[in-house]
């Protein structure tokens, strides 16, 4: 089991390298550079900046130079936020985004999972239909509509919660952004869970369990929940990676100092190292979370445990 896990992690290294390489050359292929401004810099200053960041060297040397730094855990300096290294920028924003994302994801799994199960058990009831209609709504209304609406209602009209900020009003700060972040996830997970539970409940082994005279709640809890959770789990891996690396919109609307904003800003500014840093961070998380899902699968499914 442990060697299998290690092998899986090592197997991810080429994936990550490919990702870095692609991101590196794609950024360079994009027109413009980090020091382009509306008004051109004096040529001497531009040349000095280029030399400072090794941009005057051939591309392949820059690439090797970057990889060399990476091998030592150095993500390089940010081009835009002068005086900050990329690692520092990520380290300052990531914990904030991570806390927010973890809360949102936990809420989504608990609530989405529960609602999906209940909807599956009361299939075609009023509750089921209403919930699925709501879920459809939750999926189709974008974040940048939901977030301001939440602020309008809970912060401005009712005045229950702060409209934005981070670590200024205590836990209240997190409530609205967590809800805004979680809503589409709750909807997705509820739909997945419902479909998966309905399918599981039609399995032959559930019929066997019923023929044994077990009460329905025991059948759901002991026989159906685990197999019904597996498809949801596959979704959760990549989704969680996306959520904990922050949302541009949510962090912008609620003025939260996470790393979500770097994704867009760095690309627009041609902040090569920051883009790469964020891409590596995101890529590594996706790989890590998929790996965790695989491990969980192995724990849940006895057929995988042995092979």
């Amino acid at each position: 089991m442990l060697t299998h896990a290690l092998k899986r992690l090592l197997g991810a290294a080429p994936t990550l390298l490919l990702l870095i390489t692609l991101a590196f050359f794609l950024m360079r292929a994009a027109p413009g550079g980090p020091f382009d401004r509306e008004r051109a810099l004096p040529p001497q200053i531009e040349a000095a900046l280029q030399a400072e960041y090794h941009l005057d060297q051939p591309l392949w040397r820059q690439y090797l130079h970057y990889l060399g730094g990476l091998a030592h855990g150095d993500l390089g300096p940010s081009f835009q936020y002068s005086g900050f290294s990329v690692a520092e920028l990520i380290a300052s924003g990531a914990p904030v985004s991570f806390k927010l994302g973890a809360c949102a994801m936990s809420l989504a799994v608990l609530l989405g999972g529960l609602l999906g199960c209940v909807a599956a058990l009361r299939r075609n009831s009023i509750f089921d239909r209403a919930l699925m209609a709501l879920a459809m709504l939750g999926l189709s209304v974008p974040n940048y509509v939901v977030a301001p609406l939440l602020i309008l209602l809970f912060a401005i009209v009712l005045g229950w919660l702060p409209a934005g900020g981070w670590s200024t009003h205590g836990i209240g700060d997190a409530v609205l952004p967590v809800i805004a972040l979680a809503l589409p996830q709750i909807a997705t997970i509820a739909r997945l869970m419902r479909a998966s539970m309905i399918e599981t409940l039609s399995a032959n082994f559930i019929r066997t369990a019923r023929a044994k005279g077990l009460p329905m709640r025991l059948i759901v809890w002991r026989h159906a929940l685990k197999p019904a959770l597996l498809p949801v789990l596959s979704y959760l891996g990549p989704a969680a990676a996306g959520i904990v690396t922050g949302s541009v919109v949510i962090e912008q609307v609620f003025a939260i100092p996470g790393i979500g904003r770097y994704f867009v800003q760095a690309a627009l500014n041609r902040d090569y190292t920051l883009v790469l840093g964020v891409v590596i961070f995101y890529g590594a998380l996706i790989i890590l979370f998929n790996f965790l899902v695989d491990l969980l699968y192995g724990l849940l499914d006895p057929r995988l445990r042995l092979s």
Partner: protein
């Protein structure tokens, strides 16, 4: 006369079938089964035999409408609530299904899936339930039972899984075992082993057995009495030996004639019954078998034949039963 163990009267199962129509899976089925006796139900797929097995225990699909009466141990089962049905399911009536490969939960150990029955119905502790389960695995001839209990379904072959399912169904020593095509998905040799096992267990435990199959030979091997179903109705019933040698209903005779036989002369073609079973949503007027029947008389087109006792041993639902016409078996 004392009431038999199981008495099914006028069982009707139907499904809604588009534009207010109704598909009749089972239309007025009656039979009885005494304690310790065996009854086989034979029919093609779609004849309603599996629906009957499910409906006995209220396990039919939610879309099904069930009517009639199912009395078991002196109690009406139809219309009981889930809680009351659960006290019968797996406790007084054991149920074994067709597909052993998918009928066990792949995520739970065999021990967990067996012991939970005893914990539920007998209130045993887990340890005691596991000990009883091991004894029952022993009884269905699974070696090294205690170790096997810790294993998962994928570590068992199809035949072994069916043994596990039979053992599970028998854990609470039910009065009746309903086996719905228990050997259909298995190899012939394994099938023979399972049939033999069922016979032995039945005698050891004094079980009544309701055995459902499409295979007349298999049923005749296991059961004293046989009921032949066609399009949701009983067309013939009687002692197994008599049905095999002297069928009275043209459908039974057709089933017998269409079996592949080893002792038939080489090159002799099989004689399938011409045509197909009717669509249960559009049953023909009169006898449902008439369109495929070689000996139909005018009454068959308008009158649904009732199952009438021909002698004390059995009955036949036909306007022109074969013996009456002096037509021997297999000549249809």
């Amino acid at each position: 006369m004392a009431e038999p163990l199981l008495q099914v009267r006028d069982l009707r199962i139907s499904f809604a079938a588009g534009q207010g129509g109704e598909a009749h899976a089972v239309g007025g089925l009656s039979f009885g089964l005494e304690a310790g006796q065996t009854l086989g139900i034979v029919g093609e797929s779609g004849s309603g035999k599996s629906q009957t097995a499910l409906a006995l225990l209220g396990l039919q699909s939610r879309a099904a409408r069930v009517g009639g009466s199912v009395r078991f141990e002196g109690r009406e089962l139809l219309g009981l609530d889930e809680r009351a049905l659960n006290q019968v399911r797996g406790n007084r009536i054991g149920l074994v299904f067709q597909d052993p490969m998918t009928s066990l939960n792949p995520y739970l150990s065999i021990g967990a899936q067996m012991a939970e029955v005893l914990v539920q119905h007998r209130g045993l502790s887990r340890a005691a339930a596991l000990a009883d389960s091991a004894r029952m695995l022993d009884a269905v001839r699974i070696a090294d039972a205690a170790a096997r209990l810790r294993q998962y379904p994928h570590e068992f072959s199809g035949g072994m899984r069916q043994r596990v399912l039979i053992a599970t169904a028998l854990l609470c020593h039910p009065a009746l075992l309903v086996a719905d095509e228990p050997t259909t998905a298995l190899d012939v040799t394994v099938q023979a082993e399972i049939l033999e096992l069922l016979q032995q267990l039945r005698q050891e435990l004094g079980l009544a057995l309701l055995f459902i199959s499409h295979d007349l030979d298999v049923v005749a091997e296991v059961c004293e009495r046989v009921l032949v179903m066609y399009a949701g109705r009983a067309v013939e019933s009687g002692p197994a030996a008599q049905l095999l040698t002297a069928p009275r209903h043209p459908y039974t005779a057709g089933l017998l004639a269409s079996r592949p036989r080893l002792d038939a002369p080489a090159g002799e073609p099989l004689r399938p019954i011409p045509g197909h079973p009717p669509d249960p949503a559009r049953l023909p007027a009169g006898c449902a078998f008439r369109p495929r029947c070689a000996v139909a008389v005018p009454a068959c087109e308008t009158l649904v034949p009732e199952l009438r006792a021909l002698d004390e041993s059995g009955g036949c639902a036909c306007h022109a039963p074969l013996r009456d016409q002096g037509v021997g078996p297999g000549v249809v």
